[in-house]
Amino acid sequence: MPLSRGLPGGRRCSARPPTRALANRSTEQPNLGGSCRGRRADHVRETEHVAGGTRDPATVSSRRSALLALVSSAGFFSVPAIVRPPGALAAPVAVTRGATLKSLSGAELASVLTALQDTIPPSKAPVMLRLIFHDGATYRAASKDGGVNGSIQYELDRPESFGLKRALFPPPSVSYVPYVTYVLYVSSTPLTHWPLPRIAWWLYFRRRECHQAVAKQAPGVLLC
């Protein structure tokens, strides 16, 4: 039985053995730099272990086994199954059937245009136009699969996508100048000029002065 996302503890798991499509996804997905992708692949591997029985049950935490026992009981998902969005847990296939297309309203158009203006500089126009063709040209009328379905994000490592990935992922906007400046400053300054040693030196001398003053006024008094 497919089991839902978002179990307590922030982990996701599925009691269902991975479908072929799922396994394919874990191998086909390019590394897009997002940490969640790696995690998803881990989750698939983890599920395989559990399904294949290679994991020692004793090593599974008691909370987890309790959860697994709970969700494997038959009635647990009968109610959520009704409210679940259709297709949310279906085996992933690269088809976008069932889409209901609609035109943008005036207000939607305005917000879309603002976001586009803020995100896409004119220099990116050619690659944006190339992107829709690479996403959509996988469509075949005979088999009614492929098409403009966003699958291009999983196809960026294909030879025909050469150049798309680099154009889609702009260099980080973080400037390294502050770090470089800091490293230069630190490496060019004597150790004794660094903030922390300076405080340490100051405390050391203050303490010594204090000791000397006390020793003068009250000889024999021991200070630690």
Binding site: N24, R25, E28, Q29, L32, G33, G34, P92, V93, A94, V95, T96, R97, G98, A99, T100, L101, K102, S103, L104, L109, V112, L113, A115, L116, T119, I120, P122, A125, P126, V127, M128, L129, R130, L131, I132, F133, D135, G136, A137, T138, Y139, R140, A141, K144, D145, G146, G147, V148, N149, G150, S151, I152, Q153, Y154, R158, E160, L168, F169, P170
Partner: protein, 169 residues
């Protein structure tokens, strides 16, 4: 984070596929092509895996080979030639890289890459672009668009909207 993901963070209600479409329509608009941002529709559902491999038309295809692949997607020859006019923007050498116009078709007929003395001209176009006028049915459309930019824009808009809804049945 990809440009589309950045868009998605600003427009959370739209699928990745919708934003690919809107970004492409916007790209044509800001390069002085037809304004299609308001004519495309939204509501696509994202696939969760890659599409089958080996479906993109290859650069080595002849004009007839390209017509065949585009027909498999459901495009007519006119729609194919209109869509390929997208190569007018970018670094392929058909006029200004950020100017969406019909210079692409004019260049295809002039064949500047055959000039022996011009190194830059020899770089213009992909192999698949250069062979397009080889076939009578493709050449007729190229000639029409080369002489009539408004006709190119009209046909492009229709073909683009069709492309944007492939697989959304």
């Amino acid at each position: 984070m990809s440009v589309i993901k950045q868009l998605q963070s600003k427009l959370p209600g739209y699928s990745f596929a919708d934003l690919v479409v809107l970004a492409a329509a916007y790209a044509v608009k800001i390069t002085n092509g037809p304004d299609m941002v308001s004519s495309v529709r939204v509501g696509r559902r994202d696939a969760t895996a890659a599409d089958p491999v080996g479906r993109m038309p290859e650069e080595t295809l002849s004009a007839a080979g390209q017509v065949k692949v585009f027909a498999e997607m459901g495009f007519s020859t006119t729609e194919m030639i209109a869509l390929l006019g997208s190569h007018t923007i970018g670094q392929k050498g058909f006029g200004g890289p950020l100017e969406f116009d019909n210079v692409y078709y004019q260049s295809l007929l002039q064949r500047p890459w055959e000039k022996k003395d011009d190194k830059m001209a020899s770089m213009i176009g992909l192999a698949s672009d250069r062979v397009l006028p080889d076939l009578k049915e493709t050449r007729t459309v190229i000639e029409r668009f080369a002489g009539d930019q408004a006709a190119f824009f009209r046909e492009f808009e229709g073909a683009f909207v069709k492309l944007s809804e492939l697989g959304c049945d």
